[in-house]
Amino acid sequence: MSRVIRAAVFQTAWTGDKESMIQVHEQAVRDAAAQGAQVLCFQELFYGPYFCQVQDSAFYEYAEQIPDGPIVKRFQALAKEHGIVLVLPMYEEEQPGVLYNTAAVIDADGSYLGKYRKTHIPQVKGFWEKFYFRPGRSDWPVFDTKAGRIGVYICYDRHFPEGWRALGLAGAEIVFNPSATSRGLSAYLWQLEQPAAAVANEYFVGAINRVGVEELGDNDFYGTSYFVDPEAQFVGEVASDKETELLVRDLDMAKLREVRDRWQFYRDRAPGAYTPLTTP
């Protein structure tokens, strides 16, 4: 009997205030747990608007301590109550003026497992992220959760194959890619890059994107969150491009083994030949 991980992702629209946004996500935890989901990942900067459409220091107040801030504590309690692993993409304040785009990982017993800080920070129209975030140097953590071995690669990171590979080398079975990305900019990449990463690194990917147009700009966030397997096949249907949606999917780890037995990418890679890639 192969191991099946029931995994979930949640996409939603900005409600207009932080507290109701948190409540919507708390309900999503309950909804996912009702279906027996073992792990759930939210969208990038889940409890706020995508404020990087503008450059305004007022939004610094969305940042919290990880793990000592109130939101992590709140979701630790919820994770424990429902026995579900949570991946929380948040705005992190390490200390005043040192801010990161981070995902905290909470185990099913409510314990804090660690965090990943977004490595690649964009600075293009509508995505002024360098204004808000310092690049993370997290050494590609993979979290040994009750649900399985989980990695996180946030939004713009996904355009860089190196991180996907590092997470694979560290043993990730599922990599979540929480995002906030808009139709005009990236729609042609959305169903190309993550499936390609799933194939190249032979693991499952859960891709999450928020929905709707927010008051801060014209970005049309197009949802269409999905899970994709190591053969680049979507697991079930892709989510709506406009509606709030919870996706709960059974990911069969036998598929991961089957594909790795067929293609020996990890055996045949040649790290000694890649020195130019790490030369600054």
């Binding site: 979930a8 909804d31 009702a34 279906q35 989901a37 709030t244 996706l247």
Partner: protein, 519 residues
């Protein structure tokens, strides 16, 4: 949408014409490129022939200006190649008694088909033959395009449903036709049933490949308008010429876009698709096994699943679909008419079907803006064959419970056991004995010049609450003495004693039967 189609013959087809065969053609170079389309036939001797061409021409020459000059011969071939000529045909004779090796090698390098005629004939005969064929094909194509467009436009203006349009397209295509959304969910199909089923059986895999390779006989056209892309239409295994297939697919796509734009937003194609599937399932006319490929292609997980048939009263199908998405529950939603909407949930085998149905119903109450819809369910089934009976049972329960929902203390998900006598009466509602029994028992309240509908409502509540007077008074916003007066009036008119169990039961059954007739 563009129609960049030219009615064409291939080089290979030209070479098999009787007139050409009589000239004993021999392909001496570019034999791997004989399927190139020939758009026109052109006679040219000049060395710089390329400047006169616009691509796709089969160029005929005697080589009279090229003989003896190998450089010119090579340049002639290169010039044709640069101009994207379809092929060159050299009539052997005075200039070239045998195939010129230099030209042959140059053509081979360029991948340009080179044909020599061992028994040349006047080129005019060939140009006339080929060009009349090309013109006939072009005329036939335009004529086909027009007739398809006229037929489809006629259907649209007559208000034909989507299925009728697809049937017409399948008639012209002679192969299964599939309409799918961007998520590859099949929204509608047309064509011979068994061929369609073959396509749907493996839809998810082949859908992603359709139209990718040449010659796969899957012809696809994209659907969209006003800056949005909605889906695609696919002719599956089209057996005719591929340009004609593309033309048909494009005409079909145009018509479908028009149909969608004119059709308004009453029911999306997704809704229509689910409706047709669940209606077919519930009616039981088509064996459920035959509907399985359609269900799978419509995005419903069907392998190793537990199915939960639900029917919701007074629920908005769009809102129901939204709640399913919100909860991450895989399922199909379809309006059945008469205020009833079917929801077929598909759950993993290890999930608790009853608990999740209750969870769904509870969330539906909190998410519904207009009251609390009644959620009726049949028992979950692991066999797909059990779904039709389940849908019918859920519908029956929903109908049986349709009245008195305020008075009845119903669970969040209502099942057959909860509707008890009400369910039985509903099953018997068409029986004339039951109908006349109801009329007879209630005659005093229903007939006469002073019939009072209010008394009937009070009686209904009184019996539904198990003859609970304070609850009835509360539900009708009247004082207890006022209720007593009304109950007394009811007893007088009906000539019964409602404190007598059998008489009260008789009136109750009559009232249930009466109500089932008036829904």
């Amino acid at each position: 949408m563009t129609t960049a189609l030219e009615p064409v013959l291939s080089v290979r087809q030209v070479l098999t014409l009787d007139r050409v065969l009589a000239g004993e053609p021999e392909v001496v170079a570019g034999a791997g490129h004989l399927d190139r389309p020939v758009r026109w036939v052109h006679v040219a001797e000049a060395a710089d022939v390329g400047v006169m061409l616009s691509g796709g021409e089969m160029v005929l020459t005697t080589g009279v200006l090229l003989a003896g000059d190998e450089e010119k011969q090579v340049e002639y071939i290169r010039s044709l190649y640069r101009a994207e000529a379809a092929a060159v045909v050299l009539g052997l004779g005075r200039a070239f008694p045998a195939p010129p090796d230099v030209m042959r090698r140059a053509a081979e390098r360029c991948g340009l088909p080179m044909v020599v005629l061992h028994r040349p004939f006047p080129f005019a005969e060939l140009t006339e033959e080929v060009q009349s064929r090309l013109v006939r094909r072009k005329f036939a194509t335009v004529s086909l395009s027009e007739s398809v467009r006229t037929a489809l436009t006629g259907l649209i203006t007559a208000g034909a449903p989507l299925q009728r349009l697809l049937d017409e397209i399948a008639l012209h295509a002679g192969c299964p036709v599939v309409l799918a959304n961007l998520a590859h969910r099949v929204l509608a199909t047309a064509g011979e049933r068994s061929a369609v089923d073959d396509v749907l059986r493996d839809w998810e895999r082949i859908a992603r490949q359709a139209g990718v390779g040449e010659g796969d006989r899957w012809v696809r056209a994209e659907l969209g308008g006003r800056g949005e892309h909605w889906g695609r239409i696919v002719l599956c295994g089209y057996r005719g010429d591929s340009p004609i297939g593309r033309l048909l697919a494009e005409r079909a796509a145009e018509a479908l876009v028009l149909h969608r734009m004119l059709g308004g937003a009453a029911h999306s194609w997704e809704e229509q698709s689910a409706q047709s599937l669940l209606t077919d399932l519930a009616l039981g006319v088509v064996p459920p096994r035959q509907l399985l490929p359609r269900a799978r292609a419509a995005g419903l997980p069907v392998n190793r699943r537990t199915f939960v048939p639900l029917v919701i009263r007074d629920g908005d199908p769009v809102a129901l679909d939204r709640v399913l998405r919100l909860l991450g529950l895989p399922g199909l939603v379809a309006e059945l008419g008469d205020g009833a909407t079917a929801v077929l949930l598909s759950l993993a085998r290890d999930q608790d079907a009853a608990a999740l149905a209750a969870y769904f119903a509870t969330r539906l109450r909190t998410e519904s803006e207009a009251g609390a819809p009644v959620v009726a369910a049949a028992d979950a089934c692991t066999a797909w064959e059990g779904v039709p009976a389940g849908l019918r049972e859920a519908r029956h329960v929903a109908d049986a419970v349709a009245e008195h929902t305020a008075a009845l203390d119903l669970p969040v998900v209502v099942r057959l056991k909860d509707v008890r006598l009400r369910g039985l009466v509903r099953l018997l509602r068409d029986n004339p004995h039951v109908q006349s029994f109801a009329e007879r028992e209630l005659d005093g309240l229903l007939c006469g010049p002073d019939a009072e509908p209010d008394l009937l409502a009070v009686l209904r509540t009184y019996l539904a609450t198990g003859r609970n007077k304070s609850r009835t008074a509360q539900l009708h916003h009247v004082s207890r003495p006022a209720l007593y007066r009304r109950l007394e009036a009811i007893q007088v008119r009906l000539g019964v004693d409602l404190d007598d169990f059998e008489q009260a039961a008789s009136v109750h059954i009559a009232l249930l039967a009466h109500d089932t007739q008036h829904r």
